[in-house]
Amino acid sequence: MWRLTRHSLSSLFAICIGLPVDAGTVPVVPHGVILVKGATPGTSDSVTPLPEEGKVAGDRYNNAYFNLSYPIPAGWTEEPAGPPPSDGGSYVLTQFAFWDREPQRVKAHVLVSAQDLFFSANAAQSARELMASLRRGVVPQYEIERGPEEVKIASRTFYRVAYGAPIVGLHWRVLSTDARCHALTFTFTGRDKAALDAAERAMSGISLAKESDAPLCVKGYAHGDNVIEKTEPYLATRRFNTIPVRVTIDGEGRVKHVHLLSAFPDQSEAIISALRAWRLKPYIVDGKPSEIETGLVFGTPRAVARGNAAGSARR
């Protein structure tokens, strides 16, 4: 947590518990570290994978939550990590860029992002709808080059939109697929078409779990008659923030896992504690109870562009 150039961990510990600090040590607040945080992600356990926890290993970006392994295009380097998940369910998972070193200039880059479709301020309910919405949104600011169109990459269906800004010379190629009720999106941007082409071709080496292998996700399931027992969390401080929460419900209708995308620590604690007491009707698939993921919003709901009501079950 702290820069340890002029002091030791023991001195920091001593400060924290109120003991005298060794003479000659100067605990320094580390430069460039975000220590005082606002709303952050929270979880009920530390073992269940979360969307924001992907990592680069060798020449691939791996994300256990999406069961995604993405081959980083050759010569592309990892850029600084993005922000934490937003209160609208938006994730920046990772980002890579292809630099011309002399002169120092970006030729192309890719933003790997995800939009949790349970919480989007956009009315889109799928990757396909999101790409259609993107297409509508970029006109007339940008020039559509192609799409939206359906493309197959590594046996998965992606929806692709290509557009550009002629005056800037930039091109965007956006590919999005459905993954656990998220729109998992790869946004390639750059001026170097060859680099963009190569990066898009490299997508063929992607590995991503089949949607049928992912847990069933059911929008709006934890509401109304589906809820047998519930305890409302006691949020002691009014902050007016939106708290989107993904929960896994087991076959017996118990809350198995909680992921708060954006909450203050006391809110996380209260919500996790309350949700442990919830009991829902088991979700039945082919006559058998099934484990599902669903979403809940606590705090102040976020403004939504259009109706974003409960939907049906989706893989």
Partner: protein
């Protein structure tokens, strides 16, 4: 042969010149301030007498304070016992009254005015920005920061001790915070004054417009997803200050009067102690020299004089016209136009949103259903580890900041929340770091050729 050699040499020189050309911040735009005057309808005195209110408000805004208002040239009353500067316009000065930090920092003079014995901290210099300081964490008695105790409150730079009007409030009872220790522990962060031009327009943006805009860019291709800071009492969107922590101009004025000048008022009714003093017994009694609130409604006097200073400060901000843009400076019309296109297309405009409408106004026509070129969505965004100041305000965390409105940028000397640089290029670079929502936009900026970056910089300095 000779002509061929000349041609090769010329080509070589040209190529060298092209390679050597690199973009640079054109710097502060010359010419008249283009700001500081009243809204057009206020200048036209519509409704009748409103111009008198503006002029009176400006006079008060420019007033210099002393402790009891009896020192010549310092007729404002209530300075200190802790303060950062002796008047609003000391700091909100450039390019005109209501702006931000001037080239020569008045805090150096204020530190020693009228016999005061303050030592300016190392981070306050004559040619540096006006600064307000905050400690990130509370400290133990040795000055060591305690990570479990976030502070974040304003540590006023100066005290009135030593001044001819300070009476018993001497250095034996009050002292400056230990800034040297805070600097040594990297436990201090800074803020510069926000420019106030066009404040009434900002105040009059309907929440529906802010929320609609936020929803409309929810599926942007830049990894941007901001949120709003909310007023803790009624839950509505707060919009003033570096972290959008203040709901209204009046709150903003009342807080600043109290915190920056030490003048208690009807909104912030007690004298402002340091956060450390607040944890024990507050300010020392010998330094509580005036009855409170020091600024208040003036009973039984003529019309404009009835109003308190803080109400009039808010009125001044409310009636200030927005800054003027230049259509051709720097770089010429074409360059500015191209630069704006780049700005819009590469992702800057998602947060630095150009146009918002104002709602219908009960005050004056120039606030009524007007379009404003604010260049801000008024949302708070994660700005990453380079810009994080580790101070939380409202729901804004240590790395979240309100999108700074860019109108008037051409006439700002010091940039970013702490004035760390006068260079636009560095300011843009600082937007990119671990945890920042601006990383993609900065990558796009770095995809531009140098001449195109120059266009974008010219556009920014035309604002």
């Amino acid at each position: 042969m000779k002509s061929r050699t000349t041609a090769v040499l010329t080509l070589g020189v040209l190529l060298f010149a092209l390679q050597a050309f690199s973009q640079s911040d054109p710097g502060i735009r010359g010419g008249p301030p283009g700001a500081g005057g009243p809204l057009a309808s206020v200048a036209a005195n519509n409704p009748i007498t409103i111009l008198n209110f503006f002029n009176d408000a400006k006079t008060r805004f420019e007033e210099v304070d002393s402790v009891n208002g009896t020192i010549r040239g310092e007729k404002g009353k209530g300075l200190g016992p802790r303060f950062n500067a002796m008047g609003c316009a000391r700091c909100h000065a450039f390019p005109a009254t209501g702006g931000t930090s001037p080239a020569v920092n008045p805090q150096i003079v204020d530190a020693g005015a009228d016999g005061a014995v303050n030592l300016p901290p190392s981070f306050v210099t004559l040619s540096g920005p006006v600064r307000e300081a905050r400690f990130i964490f509370f400290t133990d008695s040795a000055g060591n920061p305690i990570p479990s105790q976030p502070n974040g409150g304003v540590e006023d730079l100066f005290t009135i001790a030593g001044r001819s009007d300070a009476g018993p409030c001497t250095t034996s009872v009050i002292s400056q915070p230990d800034f040297a220790s805070a600097v040594a522990h990297n436990n201090v962060i800074f803020r510069i004054p926000t420019p106030l031009f066009g404040g009434g327009l900002v105040e009059n943006i309907e929440e529906t417009d802010l929320l609609s805009y936020q929803a409309s860019v929810a599926s942007n291709s830049f990894g941007i997803a901001g949120t709003f800071n909310h007023n803790g009492n009624d839950g509505t969107i707060a919009r003033f200050g570096w972290k959008a922590q203040n709901k209204s101009l009046e709150l903003f004025a009342g807080e600043a009067y109290n915190v920056e000048q030490g003048v208690s008022n009807e909104l912030f009714t007690q004298e402002h102690p340091t956060p450390e003093e607040e944890r024990v017994l507050g300010l020392p009694n010998p330094c509580k020299l005036n009855a409170t609130p020091e600024d208040h409604t003036n009973f039984n006097v003529g019309s404009i004089d009835t109003l308190s200073d803080s109400v009039q400060f808010a009125m001044f901000m409310r009636l200030l016209a927005p800054p003027e843009r230049s259509p051709d400076t720097p770089g010429g019309t074409d360059s500015i136009k191209k630069g704006e296109e780049f700005f819009n297309k590469i992702g800057c405009e998602v947060c630095h949103h150009n146009v918002f409408p104002s709602f219908s106004s009960s005050i004056t026509p120039s606030l009524d259903n007007q379009k404003m070129n604010l260049f801000s969505d008024l949302e708070i965004h994660h700005m990453g580890s380079k810009l994080a100041d580790n101070v939380s305000q409202g729901t804004a965390g240590g790395d979240q900041f309100r999108t700074a409105p860019l109108w008037g940028l051409g006439k700002r000397i010091f940039l970013l929340h702490d004035g760390r640089t006068p260079d636009l290029l560095k300011a843009i670079d600082q937007h990119s770091s671990t945890g920042s929502e601006a990383n993609t936009a900065v990558l796009n900026f770095n995809a531009l050729a140098n001449t195109e970056k120059q266009d974008l910089l010219n556009f920014l300095r035309s604002l």
